[in-house]
């Protein structure tokens, strides 16, 4: 699930494609915020553990501990979500749990080997904020396109504008348009630099 056709940088765009399981489900602001927070916490926990655990444990052990740490954080997030809104938990718990096994989180669990890998890993932790924000914004945009309004309350999404955007097909269309726009922007930036 990587976007790498040799024309655009693989990093951020590949991770956005890796977020597709969350973006597809994020069809309202409340779901988007819940999934964004769950992803950010799991991603940060995985990345921080992979960076901070002693290298002498070996890559397989660091991966296993980081993945378990991310799973524990997802578990705590799900419990907090359940306290906040049991209906939202029932609707979203599957995706909150799945956030642990999304490609960006699994990649963050791998111990960086070289100094440059470590520097990139620290940088990619900052990207986590962006990915979480993107998940929440996707939810809000899809809700607006589908219903004509944005509601902060889960289960209060009424109205009908373009209902397709509440469905998985709408998420794929939005991701495709965003990826195409990203490629155009990257090309324009590179053109102005040269």
């Amino acid at each position: 699930m990587t976007i790498d056709d040799g024309r655009v940088p693989a990093g951020p765009l590949a991770s956005i494609a890796g977020l597709a399981p969350l973006l597809v489900f994020s069809n309202s602001l409340s779901l988007g915020v819940a999934l964004g927070i769950a992803f950010f916490l799991a991603y940060s926990a995985a990345g921080a553990m992979a960076l901070l655990l002693p290298a002498r444990l070996g890559r397989p052990a660091v991966f296993a501990f980081s993945l378990t740490g991310a799973a524990v954080v997802a578990s705590l997030t799900a419990s907090a979500l359940r306290l906040f809104d049991p209906f939202l938990f029932e609707a979203a718990y599957g995706r909150v749990f799945l956030s642990v096994f999304t490609l960006p989180v699994l990649r963050a669990c791998v111990m960086p080997e070289t100094v440059s890998d470590r520097e990139r890993a620290i940088e990619s932790l900052l990207w986590g904020v962006g990915y979480a924000f993107l998940t929440a914004v996707t939810g809000a945009v899809r809700q607006f396109l589908a219903t004509g309004a944005v509601s902060t309350r889960f289960g209060a999404e009424h109205g009908s504008l373009l209902p397709i955007f509440a469905q998985p097909a709408g998420a794929f269309i939005l991701i495709a348009l965003a990826a195409a726009a990203f490629k155009v922007v990257i090309k324009a930036v590179r053109g102005s630099e040269s």
């Binding site: 002498r56 578990s75 799900a78 419990s79 907090a80 029932e90 209060a156 009424h158």
Partner: protein, 166 residues
């Protein structure tokens, strides 16, 4: 690299992780208890006859049936949460011994067309109402309503049989 250091670190981390997992378990159980109270309250406070008394919640997660609220001396009420692509319909359904719906009370504001039709179809199924008010949405919702009614009947029969055995 000292092998004993690696083994020691691994064990320390494994024990720490086990303790954190245990704490997560307690957090989950606490959240579950609080959620049960909130869901029982939501089902009990819906407009209708079942508004007083202590309610016990049982999570079921069978199809569209999220759980059951048991109140002493009253028919069991099931919390129905039916999801469709752009929303969900929530209702508390009181059922009799064979699982047929006695009363259905939508929870929250059922503002969209799907919720309104689902409420009408569930209520109609319970009261045996005529289908003079049929809508074009009914064809796509009928399977969901039928499955939910069958699930409710099976769950209630199972519960009453278990009670009789006791």
């Amino acid at each position: 690299m000292d092998v004993s250091d690696k083994t020691r670190d691994t064990w320390i981390l494994a024990i720490a992780m086990a303790l954190i997992v245990a704490a997560s378990g307690f957090a989950s159980a606490y959240a579950s208890g609080q959620a049960a109270r909130q869901l029982a309250k939501a089902a009990s406070e819906a407009p209708g006859p079942s508004a007083r008394g202590e309610a016990a919640w049982t999570t079921l997660r069978e199809g569209s049936v999220l759980g059951r609220v048991d109140k002493r001396g009253e028919p069991a009420a099931y919390l129905v949460v039916a999801r469709y692509p752009d929303g969900e319909f929530r209702a508390a359904a009181s059922v009799d011994g064979d699982g047929s719906i006695l009363d259905l009370r939508p929870l929250g504001d059922s503002g969209d067309a799907y919720s309104k039709r689902l409420a009408a179809l569930f209520s109609g199924a319970g009261k045996g109402a005529s289908r003079a008010d049929a809508s074009t949405l009914d064809a796509s919702l009928k399977a969901l309503v039928t499955d939910t009614l069958e699930t409710l009947a099976a769950l209630e029969r199972g519960r009453t049989e278990a009670e009789d055995d006791d």
